[in-house]
Symmetry: C2
Subunit: 253 residues, 2 copies
């Protein structure tokens, strides 16, 4: 019986935010290859007999090279294993799934993708902020805070990103937050534009903060051990009514 690989979105961390389909995939897995960012609570959902292998990756730490992860998946699938490749959030949004799928398909391995709740979407739910509120945004945009180099991505159309009617979600932007804010302001986005920080959003110990874009410039970088997602735009105005967030899991400033 041939093996296969299912790329599964683990969502932001809270096991309840996995889809039924993701849980089903985990419960039929022989092997689970997971990223460092996947929470232990989510791994708990995997079939008890499943082998769990951490394959990376977190900025700065040693982790498997992408090529090695690809190779491992191919080998396991060829050996007839049901492989789940578990990725934080959604596999197709800044999840490097493209390279993995290409390699697997090139090798004739059956691949399936199970979507997940991306951090930006979880941030919106936690804050009760409609990302496309009719009065405040007609476009929603996802970018990363840095290019391969670790610096701001010069290839981005910064003028477009500075559109005050766009809601901007920035992944992995902790290190470049100050430079990002300065650049957006230079391109015309008002310094008083509301900003939301979601630290480990959709996880135990989630923390939400509200800022103004101008404040980020002085702040510089945002050192944190938790995954950080940043929301920028009018929809994150403090006036936005915060919805009920369980007291033990979140603090809203």
């Amino acid at each position: 019986q041939p093996g296969r690989v299912i790329l599964v979105g683990a969502g932001p961390g809270e096991p309840e935010l996995l889809t039924l389909k993701a849980v089903r995939a985990l419960q039929s897995a022989d092997v689970v290859l997971y990223d460092d960012l996947v929470s232990p609570d989510v791994l708990e959902l995997a079939r008890r007999e499943a082998r769990r292998v951490m394959v990376g990756k977190r900025g700065g730490r040693a982790s498997c090279r992408q090529e090695d992860i690809n190779e491992l998946m191919v080998e396991l699938a060829r050996a007839g294993e049901r492989v789940v490749r578990l990725k934080a959030g959604d596999p197709m949004v800044f999840g490097r799934a493209g390279e993995e799928i290409e390699r697997l398909v090139a090798e004739g391995v059956t691949v399936e993708v199970v979507p997940g709740i991306s951090a930006g979407i979880a941030l919106a739910a936690a804050l009760g902020a409609s990302l496309t509120h009719r009065d405040a945004a007609h476009s929603l945009r996802f970018v990363t805070g840095h290019a391969k180099s670790g610096e701001l991505d010069e290839g981005l159309d910064w003028r477009g990103l500075a559109d005050p009617d766009t809601t901007l979600i920035v992944y992995m932007g902790g290190r470049t937050a100050g430079r990002l804010a300065a650049r957006l302001i230079a391109e015309g986005l008002p310094p008083e534009t509301p900003v939301a920080f979601g630290f480990g959003v959709g996880q135990r110990g989630q923390r939400l903060e509200r800022h103004r874009l101008g404040d980020l410039v002085a702040l510089g970088s945002v050192p944190t051990d938790q995954p950080l997602v940043i929301g920028i735009g009018k929809v994150f105005a403090a006036g936005t009514p915060a919805v009920s967030v369980p007291a033990e899991t979140a603090t809203v400033f």
Copy 2:
């Protein structure tokens, strides 16, 4: 005991694509207020005793006014009911949740939001297309195909939307597909840019089609009874390896 309202993302239609949290909300609901676009299979997950009320809304058909929906939610919550407001996809992405949350919070009603899989994310999973493939896109963008007027949204920064390194997801774009394509081409996006159509993606009877941007101009509008999500960008190239999609539920052209 006070009532409360949970805005729940129903995902694209397949019940397996709901989160565990969404299912739990449905199974503890007294009343479920659902949109026309929510699939019957998803409604099946609601507690058997729950009253199910269709409140709208689909282009062209009679449906409740937003004000009436808001009012109904407030009244039910005040009467102590556990209300689930069930919305297709994710409530915070083109779901009009902003107005509902504002009203509920203004009336002192407790609100919670449970995120869901948005159609654009489901499209990516169905096609096996990483929306932010490193070699093809450094930005991901969600817009609607029409403004309140039903026409293209003139307020959008069309030059920015025509960035060949952006993946563009268009919701509710069936009627304006031709005009949208013509506009993007006029702003510089190559006519050979790959396009993916997802009809009822993530639902039974899902249908996927691949086109080129230039072909849409002649096509004009795309009449369909299914919800349509359109993906535009290099990540949708036909070369993108299609992942395994159950044969009985999907056709890939």
